[in-house]
């Protein structure tokens, strides 16, 4: 093809107060290809996608489609030009149904009232044609995060965009949903769409992408016209700017006495009682498919959801049911799965988000917040976990997704007497370099005698980090493996519902 590329970014620059998010970045995407965009947390990937989507106006440079410079002033301009961007932080209307979300703004207004039956039939037909298993009448707030993501993707496809950008679409999808998504992306490529695909999972990049660009600190550091013959190590090296070596970096540890004991615990979402124990210094990985009940049981243990039966004890001392504050007093904490809803307090500063719980331990005169200590704590974690922010007073919502995650994790690392740390999908949306740092933090905590429970949907991560693996399926613990016994095959087999083959159950 001698023609201009379908999509071209030319010398894009963008600054926010105190942050130069992009400087002089350019790359192009061919029609009928999937272009991977890689880079550490805060490298500027999402910012670029917001510029493409007309949400941010670049300070310098331009976006060109088919060789013609565009001047997007608002999101509608980009949509009109055939661009669909599925953002990392989803934008949807929780009270509306799948059908209404899909049809939002697409109904010809001259029909006046909506013909519900026809709309329903139409929606169902489209979903079926795309092979997406969703109830058109379900309210979005009743769906899993992954399902909500599917709705967004279907919405973009229905809009018949010629350029489609996916910003970390798989970070909360189940295996099956991911498969469906990949199939859709391949179909769209065959139809000649130009696509941008952002992910921190390199496997996916290799599986899906034809070409790739790497960002670092708001600049372009590498362009690959093809990924043929490119190694994983090369990509990581260019992204992070150093060699990481063994990403898991696992070191065996001594285990102490039983720290966390959970006996016959059940809650509304986990009917069958669950029991397990974790020793001091042990890292236990919980694997299961999305909807296996892992997050639900952990929320009950922590007290975020009501505990109906059973006992939880830390170092033999009972933790009161359904009382988060009692759990924290016992040094039992949970780092939640849904960062945006349950993790960050968006309009508050990074420092506030880190210090919100631990500050009670260093009050001045038992009453006043100790700003000096808090500043030191915040700066310490910003430095140690490389949280990319201009300063600790920045509102946390302005950080990139992965950096928000690191700040939420820091909140619990700052607890003085941490005994049991439950982390739910701790590396979701986190870049390879930072993943490695987070694993090191977990090892360090375990080394200090903390009992660590890690929920993850990424099997390699569970296998790579855990001393022991517990597999859950449909709200029950179905198998346990020591580190030596566990492998991809037996853990996955255990986590799959009986009767199911390699295709996991859909998310709840």
């Amino acid at each position: 093809m001698t023609d201009a590329p379908r999509l071209e970014f030319r010398h894009i620059g963008k600054s926010f107060p105190g942050v130069r998010a992009l400087s002089d970045v350019g790359f192009s995407v061919r029609a009928g290809s999937v272009h991977g965009l890689l880079g550490e947390n805060g490298a500027g990937k999402s910012t670029m996608m917001k510029i493409l989507g007309g949400e941010y106006i670049p300070d310098e440079g331009e976006v060109a489609i088919d060789g013609r410079a565009m001047d997007f002033r608002k999101a509608a301009d980009a949509i009109d030009a055939g661009v669909a961007v599925i953002h990392q932080e989803l934008q949807y209307v929780p009270e509306l149904s799948v059908m209404e979300n899909l049809l939002l703004g697409r109904l010809p207004t001259r029909f006046g009232l909506v013909d519900r039956r026809r709309a329903l039939a139409w929606t169902r037909e489209r979903l079926d044609a795309l092979g997406v298993d969703l109830d058109p009448r379900a309210k979005l707030k009743a769906l899993s995060i992954g399902q909500r993501q599917m709705v967004e993707i279907v919405k973009a496809i229905l809009r018949d965009a010629k350029i489609l950008a996916l910003d970390e679409p798989t970070s909360s999808l189940s295996h099956r949903e991911t498969e469906v998504l990949f199939r859709l992306v391949r179909d769209l490529r065959a139809q000649g769409k130009a696509m941008i695909y952002i992910s921190h999972r390199l496997d996916e990049i290799f599986e899906l992408c034809d070409a790739a660009t790497i960002f670092r600190d708001g600049r372009k550091v590498a362009d690959f016209d093809t990924l043929e013959g490119v190694t994983r190590e090369t990509l990581v090296q260019r992204m992070v700017g150093r060699d990481i070596g063994d990403i898991w970096g696992y070191r065996p540890r001594e285990h102490g006495d039983i720290r966390l004991s959970v006996k016959n615990v059940s809650g509304r979402a986990v009917q069958q009682p669950v029991s397990f124990e974790v020793k001091a210094g042990e890292i236990v990985g919980f694997f299961g498919l999305v909807g296996a009940g892992r997050s639900e049981i952990m929320r009950v243990i922590y007290g975020a959801d009501r505990r109906l039966t059973g006992d939880v004890a830390v170092d033999g001392q009972p933790v009161k049911p359904s009382q988060i504050r009692d759990a924290i007093r016992h040094g039992l904490v949970l780092c939640p799965e849904d960062r945006k809803e349950d993790g960050i307090i968006g309009v508050r500063s990074v420092s506030e988000n880190i210090n919100i719980s631990a500050r009670r331990n260093h009050l001045v005169a038992g009453l006043f917040v100790n700003d000096r200590v808090e500043a030191k704590t915040a700066d310490g974690y910003i430095d140690r976990l490389r949280i990319r922010t201009p300063h600790r007073r920045q509102e946390i919502r302005l950080l990139s997704g992965g950096n928000q995650q690191k700040a939420v994790l820091s909140r619990w690392l700052a607890e003085r007497d941490l005994r049991v740390l439950i982390v739910d999908e701790p590396t979701r949306g986190i870049d390879v370099g930072a993943k490695n740092e987070i694993y090191n933090v977990l090892y360090e905590l375990a080394g200090r005698g903390v009992a660590v429970v890690m929920i993850s949907s990424e099997l390699p991560e569970v296998l790579g980090v855990s001393d022991r693996v517990i597999a859950m399926c449909r709200g029950r613990i179905v198998a346990q493996f020591s580190r030596d016994e566990a492998n991809e095959a037996n853990v996955l087999a255990a986590a799959l519902p009986e009767g199911a083959s390699a295709t996991p159950t859909p998310a709840r």
């Binding site: 130069r20 941010y56 150093r242 924290i328 968006g346 309009v347 508050r348 919100i356 990319r388 909140r411």
Partner: protein, 333 residues
């Protein structure tokens, strides 16, 4: 240089021009309200007779003292993403109730104490219903607003309740170091609530709850308890304002404080307190209160018809909200 400090610098790398521009906007954003107030004050001092005189200044402060006190607690309420419409009624009821109890017992102290306790009770009911029963704050306080106003009329039989005890009037009219007592009380509120907001767990948790209640709960904040405390304290301060108002008017009046809640909320919003929760500053609220008072005062001095004063107040509020919106939009782009 270590990797991480290099990364931190990378994130802040900036050209001098953009940095200067960012700094300029930051200053404008941070001090816009104060600048507006100073400009307003200067213009009025130069153009309106008697405006810039000691007596008028004291009068101005006295006139905003009730709004000032309750703005402090309303700031907490709004910061936690809640709302309280019942303060105006509480002001009226507290004045009436204080007068009745003081007359019956012959003791001003008992009257004041009983009235403050009644205010606390109203606040507690608001807080408990909102936090525990999860009923919308707007609806809940709309209901208590009506109920408490009704109680004020019933207990006073619709009449102003005079107080025979002279001691009661000193509360509103006595002067200390050249300033009336209500002004001192208001200043004390600004200091106390300013410190509470910025320097204590209570204040920080209030802001956190306003920012994201679910995340706050999971971070170990006693969300229900904080919300109840916010409303309870607001009830007490509204009652205090009511007592002082009654003292200044020498009687408890059941129709006092009508529209008071809206003036208080206006002052807060003018002072940059976000109705979406999570953002508030005491300095903003102080300036908000002063702007409200100054405009009111100047309009009275200029003999502007009271009916028009409503228009002016509404317009100012609208402008303040628009400015805030523009500020946010620029920051988002």
């Amino acid at each position: 240089m270590t990797e991480s400090s290099a990364a931190a610098i990378g994130a802040t790398r900036d050209t001098p021009a953009t940095r200067r521009r960012a700094l300029f906007w930051q200053v404008v954003d941070d001090y816009s309200l104060i600048l507006i107030f100073i400009a307003l004050f200067a213009v009025l001092s130069a153009s309106v007779q008697y405006f810039f005189s000691w007596d008028n200044m004291v009068g101005l402060l006295l006139s905003v003292s009730q709004i000032g006190m309750v703005s402090c607690t309303m700031m907490f309420c709004l910061a936690s993403r809640d709302f309280d419409l019942s303060v105006g009624s509480t002001v009226a009821f507290a004045g009436v109730f204080c007068a009745i109890v003081a007359n019956a017992t012959g003791s001003v102290a008992i009257g004041v104490a009983a009235s403050l306790a009644a205010g606390a009770l109203v606040g507690f009911v608001n807080g408990a219903v909102i936090a525990k029963l999860k009923i919308n704050a707007l609806i809940t306080t709309l209901a208590t607003m009506e109920i408490v106003r009704g109680l004020a009329f019933i207990s006073s039989h619709g009449q102003a309740v005079g107080v025979s005890n002279e001691a009661f009037f000193t509360l509103g009219s006595a002067s200390v170091l050249g300033l009336p007592v209500p002004v001192w009380v208001t200043l004390a509120c600004f200091v106390v609530f300013g410190v509470l907001l910025n320097k204590t767990i209570y204040g920080r948790n209030t802001l956190a709850i306003g920012g994201n209640p679910d995340a706050s709960r999971l971070a170990g904040v006693a969300v229900d308890r904080v919300r109840i405390a916010i409303f309870l304290i607001q009830g007490v301060i509204a009652a205090l304002a009511g007592i002082i108002l009654a003292s200044r008017m020498t009687s408890g009046q059941p129709n006092a404080g009508e529209g008071f809640e809206l003036n208080v909320i206006s002052a807060c919003v003018l002072g940059g307190v976000s109705l979406m929760g999570g953002r508030a500053s005491i300095s903003g609220v102080i300036v908000g209160v002063l702007i409200m008072g100054t405009v009111q005062n100047a309009m009275s001095l200029m003999n502007i018809d009271a009916f028009y004063q409503y228009l002016v107040r509404g317009t100012i509020l609208l402008i303040a909200v628009l400015v805030d919106q523009l500020k946010n939009r620029r920051q988002a782009r």
